[in-house]
Symmetry: C2
Subunit: 241 residues, 2 copies
């Protein structure tokens, strides 16, 4: 749901229309900057190897970085031009809300999938293939993502699927909203193992983007989960009814 909420807010008439690129007054910008002081966390690229990555995750990172050399694949940093635009977009939306009732807590805000110290939660990197409209995410689920002892929680699997599907939809459709996430759990995922989440745009019908995903072992022999996501593509410059 990462890219989806502001658009959904507008579609549901919770918020006023966007400012069309006009920045809020300087005072409000400074307030927002303070409120989102966790922005410095965003500017550390968490998609690069750190000491908590196991050999499988490092191996897949190296393999796909090589595939990037001929331009067929693109490494997606944890921040960058796409992410920055989205963050800016949501800041403006947020400035227009009256939801800042707990500013002290909000000033601590972190992106859910990047909110743990290295190695404890989601360690992941994404690569995108433009020609195939496909994004792969290699994820090592750390010990704080436990469901039953020794295995990942179903919610943590849903989270990394949502994150990867959303990125695929953003690249294909720009500003989109998530409508549905439908997951089939087939096998449990051992804690601290590495899986690959493979998301693909199946079809685009008008404003609808249909994304399918599967979660497999890195040798692709074991299917852990599969899922479908439906997103709606929106034009932020048009009034939405």
């Amino acid at each position: 749901m990462f890219p989806a909420c502001a658009v959904r807010l507008r579609a549901l008439h919770i918020l006023r229309a966007p400012r069309g690129g006009v920045l809020p007054p300087a005072g409000e910008r400074r307030a927002a900057q303070k409120l989102f002081s966790s922005e410095k966390v965003i500017h550390k690229d968490r998609s690069l190897p750190n000491s908590s990555w196991n050999s499988d995750l490092k191996l897949m990172f190296d393999q796909f970085m090589k595939k990037c050399e001929d331009g067929s694949w693109e490494h997606l940093p944890s921040y960058g031009s796409r992410s920055s635009q989205i963050v800016q977009y949501f800041k403006e939306v947020f400035l227009e809300t009256k939801l800042r009732k707990d500013e002290q807590m909000l000033s601590q805000a972190r992106l859910f999938t990047r909110s743990y110290e290295d190695g404890l939660g989601f360690e992941y990197v994404m690569f995108h293939n433009e020609q195939e409209k496909r994004t792969v995410c290699f994820c090592q689920g750390g010990p704080y993502l436990q469901g039953p002892p020794g295995f990942l929680h179903g919610g943590s699997i849903a989270t990394i699927i949502d994150e990867t599907a959303s990125m695929t939809a953003i690249i294909a459709g720009g500003i989109v909203m998530t409508v549905n996430l439908n997951i089939n759990y087939k096998r449990p995922i051992p804690l601290c193992s590495v899986v690959v989440i493979n998301c693909q745009v199946d079809k685009i019908e008008g404003r609808k983007l249909f994304i399918s995903c599967d979660v497999r072992s890195i040798d692709e022999k074991t299917l852990y989960s599969d899922a479908t996501s439906l997103f709606i593509k929106l034009d932020p410059n048009k009034s939405l009814t």
Copy 2:
């Protein structure tokens, strides 16, 4: 997926049949105890108010504790007889696996929904109504669960839905496995607000349990998400094919 994985493991013939109550040898039990040293975290009841709870969450807690007085509702602690049985069950399953390749990381393991310090992640409490086959969960989503700035990540919503639906299924069906989780996102949830997740057993057909959920504001006027879950009820004493 909390209650589901061991059963799924067996159904998929990944693991051998359960030991039928016979404990593993003492040496292995000690090894498991060491491996799951985070058990002490489980024995702090996280479903009781702490200083990070806001007034809405405290209010709903007090209201439902009063409803428990006549026995129509039951407060579900974050650990207790049900949880202990499930943890013990999974420990035995885990002992039979050969997945302990990263014991250092696993010794740090924590339940995903209880893995944050007070107030930063999921603060929640559940109550169950046996007659209505219904569980309600009041959840305050902290600043580390952020998706778009100011709002919860879709994965964190999926997580608390999965946790509440699983508990509903455990109470109704004992040992169950999650087959499907299907979520419709309708409105974004502001960070640090309190929502109520309402899960109900719609019907039981043979071994299938159909659970429906919705996520609303505590005044129930705003519908944020709805979802369905399908679980399979299993008899761990029978061979599963």
